[in-house]
Amino acid sequence: MANDFRREDLLEECLKPAFEARAEQLAAELPSDDLLEDPHTFSPEFQAKMAAMTRKAARGRRPLRRYVQAAAMFVLCFAALGFGAMQVEAIRTPILRFVVSVTQEYTNITFDGGSNKELPASYEEIAPGYIPEGYELREQDLSEWHCYASYENPATEGYFSYMVMSTGGSSTSFDTEDCRVYEANINGRKAYVSVKLTRNTVIIVMFDQDFTYTLAGDLSEEEALAVMESVP
């Protein structure tokens, strides 16, 4: 098992110089405009949009997250100071609303409300307690609002991903074409399970007031449910 990961690490090292050549090939597709014989004349509408974008670039990129956080803090402080009679419970239990829209190809869940809570500082606090036999954590990436992890089984070349993100204001879509889809309740959390009929792949989207948990991979339905049931 360890050998398979080591071979991949070696491959990754070899990829870097190989990409230099590919970069040169791709770069050839993009000469500078002054070298073009008959460059396109952009429409007035396009030029207006680009002028607006350039003005925005002049103002600089503002990390939207910090503004949202600052605004959220301001609202919370204002609510606490200006509305002293407000019940504390009303602040502690924001209402999560979600809208599910289903098409033939995919299902979309859009969330409104929710707690806008940050993810824990360590992956272990949100990681599933049960991982099917043979699977190993390959990589994980954790930030305040979003976590991504992937698991691989070198013996079977099986693979699944596990994502957690803050529910508030987010939306998730998943494949439902040629799938058996049903609602479930997993340890008090609402979930949608999509089982591909033509292949051994499963997607489970599970959510609560705070976070949305998504598993996607070539696990059996039973294994996938067991993984999600073990989420803290």
Binding site: S43, G60, Y148, S173, D175, I203
Partner: protein, 181 residues
Amino acid sequence: MLLGQRKKTEQSLFEELYHTYSASMYRVAFSILRDNGLAEDAVQQTFLKIFREIDKIDEIGSNKTRSFIVILVRNTSIDLYRKRKRENLVYFDDLEQVPRDRTGSPEDAVIAQQSEEEIRRRLESMDPKYADILMLRYYHGCRNKEIARLLELSEATVASRIFQGKKMLLRQLEGGEAHGE
């Protein structure tokens, strides 16, 4: 660098990119979309993505910067083409089954011994769906989350394609060694 200076640098960099490559980007987009309006939309959307990831741009004229732009404009154009054709927008890609027919386990040295030329050749023939993502990850240093945002894919799809792409390369390299190439 002072904040004010950094903003000016970002702005001037963005403007320089626009004045240097916008028509070339249009040409790439038009070759896919065959429509003036859509090609301009693709260019504009690509600039939006570039604007968000402007810290990935160092030298305007470098192969690295130009290849980054080509990958973005190409994938943005393909995405627009699919939307126009009303093809399925699959937010979570179907995970492809990887055939378990590997005949042996090569020594680590096999991979290290493969020439860069051999790997480059394999990359040339690889479906851009995988090659572009591998390049964004291992050459441009983008994280999965950034790639997903740039190419408007789910993270699961990005991770799946990286996984599949590496597996395909490994199988091809091993297969070449087995046949004495």
